[in-house]
Amino acid sequence: MAQFMPLSQAVAENLRNGDVAAFEGFTHLIPTAAAHEAIRQGFRDLTLVRMTPDVVYDQMIGMGMAKKVIFSYAGNPGVGLLRRMRDAIENGWPNRIEVEEHSHAAMANAYEAGAAGLPCAIFRGYRGAGLAEVNPNIRSIVCPFTGEKLAAVPSVRPDVSFVHAQKADRKGNVLVEGIIGIQKEAVLAARRAVVTVEEVVDDFKGLHPNLTILPSWTITAISVVPGGAHPSYTHGYYARDNASYIEWDEIAADRDRFRAWMQANVLDASPEDFAARVASLRAA
């Protein structure tokens, strides 16, 4: 049954050094506030899983928290490359990181299989693709009916997943809507799940029956953090801060500028600061 608690407590109780951790969100609903709290608490040796390790993983990698990254697209969406992640891979700064690279189809299937309690996922993929040669976790099975060779990848089963969502009700059920991405699978595949939400409402009465709702008993902790997805967005609450994504390209280009920005905007900040960051992005 989900417990409501401050984000600092939720992160402290559910993330550990050495964990396999997923901070998921497919462009929409990225759990930035949770990632920043993890940065403030200084966790180390994390295996960071994410289909699209964008700005928040660039920040966590740049702060030296990652031992390994499992991913399928490492870009700043619509802007360019991830300069801190590049620096770690190309130059070992601030530390070398291990890379396990997949395609989106593989990662999506791997999360799905994790949520489904399976050890692996099968799909028609990686045909002629170079990743199959460099990633030993890309294997295959043979269909016992047609003889077709299908790709197989291990399921993703994080120790802990962090996601951001629109809202919770008082019982701790959580609603995710809009571009729902891989949020549900990330929560159900994980041993522990921490959800940040924009707000808490009394109940979900009157909601359409087929919406994506995570029952309270699938979630470990819920923290209310208005604006907690910034510079990503929360459908129905505030828009994507595209200017921040563009700006990040410059900040991350230089190690010192990156460190200074992290000090001012993350280490010396708190979850409460997110509300102000999205104030001008809210619908009139």
Binding site: E90, E101, F123, R124, A129, L175, G181, H235, A239, N242
Partner: protein, 275 residues
């Protein structure tokens, strides 16, 4: 970069590339759209000759009709205007792998003459000179979409004799390499650059220039390509952008620039804010 420079004829190389790509699309197409030129081309097609075209972005938005081009494949505008928005696992299982995509668009950091694409690394995979974003959806788009259209600006760095990494498979070493791998989709059938339109040779599958954009010479195409270019016997000239095409594209870009430079208000809510 030349892409932004308007030539004597009143349009830029990037504009003719985008418009030429849009013309290749039909109303019955179901397109798996990437960000950038593909997104612009698909939406110009939708706003001109192919209003019924179905645009799908890998974030799960099916049948979108955005008023401005998205900066990311998961912009809220895509969801707001979609027929439906599904989860990412469903997108890759039912819609891409399920064989429902007629045209997949891909870009390339490096491309070879057989339509093989690299967006993963420059240099060695384990010790890369430049770590690029990686494949994302491309490895399976390349083999599950019925056909692949590639768009890119020409350069000797980008169009190379040998790519450093096979992010997504085109025609391999040519011929029936796809069939040999058991792949039953057509693969790259069209390459549209800022200078020309290319199609694979029916037998060798090597990309061959079939049409030069207005004012472009064979020499210019060769100068900006890292392999020895083959030209079709009957080389055509790409029709210049029509006024409507150009206006549609420029209006779209203007709306997009306005929306992304400022702090745009969120689109109208279709969620459950008041639930």
């Amino acid at each position: 970069m030349m892409a932004g420079t308007e030539n004597q004829q009143g349009f830029t190389p990037n504009e003719i590339m985008t418009i030429a790509a849009s013309r290749a699309l039909r109303g019955s197409d179901v397109c798996f759209v990437g960000i950038g030129a593909p997104s612009a081309a698909c939406n110009v097609a939708r706003l001109t000759h192919a209003p019924d075209i179905t645009l799908i972005y890998e974030s799960g938005t099916i049948g979108t009709a955005p008023d401005v081009l998205p900066l990311s494949i998961g912009d809220g505008e895509l969801c707001e205007t979609a027929v439906t928005t599904v989860s990412v696992p469903e997108m890759f299982r039912y819609w891409l792998q399920g064989g429902r995509i007629t045209i997949g668009f891909l870009g390339a950091a490096q491309l070879d003459r057989f339509g093989n694409i690299n967006t993963t690394v420059i240099g060695d995979y384990d010790h890369p000179k430049t770590r690029l974003p990686g494949g994302g959806g491309a490895p399976e788009i390349a083999t599950s979409a019925q056909e692949i259209y590639i768009t890119m600006a020409q350069s000797k760095r980008g169009m190379v004799e040998k790519i450093d990494f096979f992010t997504s498979f085109g025609h391999g070493t040519g011929g029936d390499d796809r069939a040999k791998l058991g792949i039953d989709t057509k693969g790259p059938t069209l390459l549209i650059t800022d200078l020309a339109i290319w199609k694979p040779d029916p037998v060798t599958k090597e990309f061959t220039v079939v049409s030069l954009h207005p004012g472009v010479t064979r020499e210019k195409v060769q100068e900006t390509c890292g392999w020895t270019v083959k030209f079709a016997d009957r080389l055509e000239e790409t029709p210049a952008p029509a006024a409507l095409e150009l206006k549609t594209l420029r209006d779209l870009k203007a709306r997009t620039d306005a929306a992304h430079s400022g702090k745009a208000a969120p689109a109208a809510n279709r969620g459950s804010k008041d639930g």
